[in-house]
């Protein structure tokens, strides 16, 4: 805990200094990422990169072993018509489905990520959240996607939020921790920046925009603000933090714009699924459709792409 206390002290110095974020300026900057020219070989490379960064996700009350198994198969066989495609980075499921998913993707290189801490609201006692996390890890989750207590943050209890993240990080053991900020509930980019700093200092391996249950989710403005927090932390400490925009990225074009942003803000070192992920359920098929268009010259109907 001493180590955490040090970090917390450092964070408190830092977050008092979390820079202000000007929304108009961010919008202008983000617009520039969308005018870069991505076509031909550059587009193909970008699309394959995007496929390999997807956390294929199902997070529904009606999830069943059958549904999860089917999704896991898709994760490893995105479109077998076309040889040489990568797999997705991970499948993302509720803790109760981890064991099944783990078995299905065994040996494929695809990770199993599990949401925890009373996802998506996070409105549960800390002990419950720790138990929830430990359960997912014990079941075999390689990655944990936790939610922060937005209510506590908005009522000014930053220390609570910090300690909670630090404790979940401890409960993760070897699993990598993604901290979901649920930016749609934070209202301002100033808050997004502040929570990004808070989560990074508290021990996040990744910061993630959204649960996918709240709109707006992963807007480019929000992702940009979080990338700047990662950049500042890296410039200060030399430690890389990952980024995962989730929710609302369903087209190849938007995915490529995100990759341009990552390249220009953080550099090419982040352009791997070790450091960047898309949390998405429908993105994969749109990317596949674009790849097939590039290969064959014509768009195919969505019936030619499996929907697991």
């Amino acid at each position: 805990m001493k180590k955490n206390q040090d970090k917390k002290n450092r964070f408190q110095l830092e977050y008092l200094n979390s820079p202000a974020v000007d929304k108009v300026g961010v919008e202008e900057r983000v617009a520039r990422f969308q005018t870069r020219s991505i076509k031909d070989a550059s587009k193909m490379q970008g699309l394959k990169m995007a496929l390999n960064m997807i956390d294929l996700t199902t997070l529904e009350g009606k999830d069943t072993p059958g549904k999860v198994k089917q999704m896991c198969y898709k994760a490893q066989h995105l479109h077998d018509v076309l040889p040489g495609l990568p797999t997705v980075a991970a499948v993302c499921v509720y803790p109760s489905m981890v064991k099944i998913a783990k078995k299905e993707v065994a040996g494929s290189g695809v990770n199993v990520a599990s949401v925890s801490t009373a996802f998506p609201s996070g409105q549960a006692p800390l002990e419950v959240k720790i138990t929830d996390t430990k359960f997912a890890v014990d079941e075999g989750a390689d990655e944990i996607d936790m939610v922060i207590s937005r209510g506590k943050f908005l009522s000014g209890e930053y220390n609570y939020v910090f300690d909670e993240i630090a404790m979940i990080k401890e409960a993760c053991g070897k699993a990598r921790l993604k901290v979901i900020l649920e930016t749609g509930e934070l209202a301002t980019l100033d808050n997004v920046r502040k929570v990004s700093d808070l989560a990074i200092y508290a021990g996040a391996d990744f910061i993630k925009t959204s649960t996918g249950k709240i709109q707006p989710a992963a807007t480019m403005q929000v992702t940009y603000t979080m990338l700047m927090a990662i950049k500042d932390y890296y410039d200060k400490t030399g430690i890389m933090i990952g980024m995962k925009p989730a929710g609302g990225i369903s087209t190849s074009k938007l995915a490529l714009h995100n990759l341009v942003m990552v390249k220009e803000v953080l550099g090419s070192a982040w352009l791997t699924n070790e450091w960047f992920r898309f949390g998405a359920s429908s993105l994969a098929n749109d990317v596949l459709m674009q790849i097939m268009k590039a290969e064959t010259g014509v768009y195919q109907s969505s019936d030619y792409f499996s929907i697991d």
Binding site: A20, V21, G25, E28, T35, S37, M49, D235, I239, T272
Partner: protein, 487 residues
């Protein structure tokens, strides 16, 4: 905590994306546009205009002299007296609207020609120069038949023949700034574009011809400084509007003294961009970049003097350097290019002279590592730190992608330093504190002050300077008032 593992870094490059040039039409040779006709120069002389990005000749342009200017002024006078000043204002408006629409229809052609002739990036000419130029015509067309509402309780009269001389940094946009309000108020025009960038003004002449504007209302006479001097010294010109260097502005003011000519001057600048410690730092860094590297720094209101509060200076400078390395310098026609070509060889020499002076003065220079195309005129974005008010590079207008960085401690200090210059065109203030913005805007001696942004232009907003940056305003109602007599 995750640390850097040995994951191979894969480079991902953008696809080169050159804007096409097959849709543009450039003649091998352009004559003067006088009295609605294309007229050969009386001297028979032509000069070449080149693409500064690769030094290739684009076209030959007529070199107008005193006789040609006299012809143009006579045509303008005749059109003024017989047609334009007596036409119902609503009819005048129709012509101006028509010019605006024709410009919009040919926006892509205008943008590409602007980029070829001036070296500015296609992104800027496509997204900023050309749309803004169209908007100026639209905006002033709206005022043409509402002049008595623009100046309530006054009787509004036109002036007569306006002589207009424009610079090479925003060739089409400056033509629009000058021609649109002049026409709306009922004046006729003799315009001289800059010698390095005459092509879009000549394209505009073609558009004006196609619009059916009565002959002689707008005349375009290309040439060099002596051509401009002939316009300034012509006894039948009622108003001179000049945008360009402070030196030439002073010569013009001397020349028209005591002649009863109205005069507006929009001259140089050395504008301060001021960053406080509570500013949105990352957006401020973008604003600094946009302030000084927009159009390769060929901007009279460029934020060329950066003032950073000392307690955040290291951070801001580190971020600036970092950001410079993600800028793409190269072929201005490539849609990915952020920094294009310097407008001319002469200007590149001037910039390099100042860079040399800066180094000799002991200022610390930083340039990112970027490959410079072999042909053409290019200058990498350049920062100078360790700069004081006394440095030449912090005092004189460089008109290139060169930024000087000074630090300050208190609000009063930075106001003093920002005002401590012969110029007074623009300034930028970056802070999260609204009250501080208002405090500074009242105390900074500059015509335009931007808060938490920089280099934003709009036809409705007046633009112009204090002190050696000139007098008179362009844009908005203020811009219109320079072209009317209020009786």
């Amino acid at each position: 905590m995750a640390t850097k593992k040995n994951i191979p870094v894969v480079e991902w490059d953008y696809a080169p994306s050159l804007e096409g040039t097959s849709h543009i039409q450039l003649k091998k040779q352009y004559d003067l546009f006088i009295d609605g006709k294309w007229v050969k120069p009386s001297s028979g002389k032509y000069f070449q205009t080149i693409n500064p990005a690769n030094e290739e000749v684009l076209s030959e342009v007529a070199y107008g002299n005193e006789n040609d200017v006299d012809l143009a002024v006579k045509a303008a006078r005749k059109a003024y007296a017989e047609v334009w000043s007596v036409m119902p204002a609503a009819e005048r408006a129709k012509y101006i609207y028509r010019i605006a629409r024709l410009m919009q229809e040919r926006a892509r052609e205008l943008a590409v020609i602007e980029t070829l002739d001036a070296g500015k990036t296609i992104r800027e000419s496509r997204d900023i120069d050309v749309p803004l130029a169209c908007n100026h015509f639209f905006y002033y067309a709206g005022w043409a038949d509402k002049l008595e509402y623009a100046f309530p309780n006054r009787k509004v009269e036109s002036i007569g023949v306006a002589g207009q001389i424009i610079p090479w940094n925003f060739p089409l946009l400056m033509a629009a700034w000058k021609i649109a309000p002049a026409l709306a108020a009922g004046n006729t025009v003799v315009l001289k574009p800059a010698e390095t960038t005459p092509l879009t003004a000549l394209k505009l002449a073609e558009i004006i011809e196609a619009s059916g504007l009565p002959a002689g209302v707008v005349n375009i006479v290309t040439g060099f400084g002596d051509t401009g001097a002939a316009i300034v010294n012509h006894t039948d010109v009622d108003k001179i509007a000049f945008t360009g260097s402070t030196n030439v502005g002073k010569i013009i003011q001397k020349a028209v003294a005591g002649k009863g000519k109205k005069l507006t001057l929009e001259l140089g600048g050395k504008s301060a961009n001021i960053i406080f410690d509570d500013a949105p730092i990352d957006q401020a860094v973008e604003g600094i970049i946009n302030g000084i590297f927009f159009n390769q720094g060929h901007v009279c209101c460029a934020g060329s003097r950066l003032f950073v509060q000392e307690n955040v200076a290291d951070k801001v400078i580190a971020k600036l350097k970092d950001r410079l390395n993600s800028l793409y310098l190269g072929n201005p026609l490539d849609k990915n290019t952020d920094i294009g070509a310097i407008n001319s060889k002469e200007q590149l020499e001037t910039i390099n002279k100042y860079i040399k002076i800066g180094k000799q003065e002991g200022a610390e220079m930083y340039q990112p590592t970027c490959s410079i195309p072999k042909k053409g005129f290019y200058c990498p974005p350049t920062l100078f730190t360790n700069v004081a008010q006394s440095n030449v590079i912090a005092q004189e207008e460089i008109f290139g992608p060169v930024l000087t960085i000074q630090t300050f401690r208190t609000v009063d200090e930075v106001i003093q330093k920002a005002n401590n210059t012969p110029f007074g065109l623009a300034a930028g203030v970056w802070t999260d504190k609204g009250s501080r913005i208002f405090n500074l805007t009242t105390k900074l001696r500059a015509g335009v002050i931007w808060a938490n942004t920089y280099n934003k232009f709009d036809p409705t907003s007046p633009f112009g300077g204090y002190k050696e940056s000139g007098f008179g305003r362009e844009g908005g109602l203020h811009g219109l008032s320079s072209y009317v007599k209020l009786v």
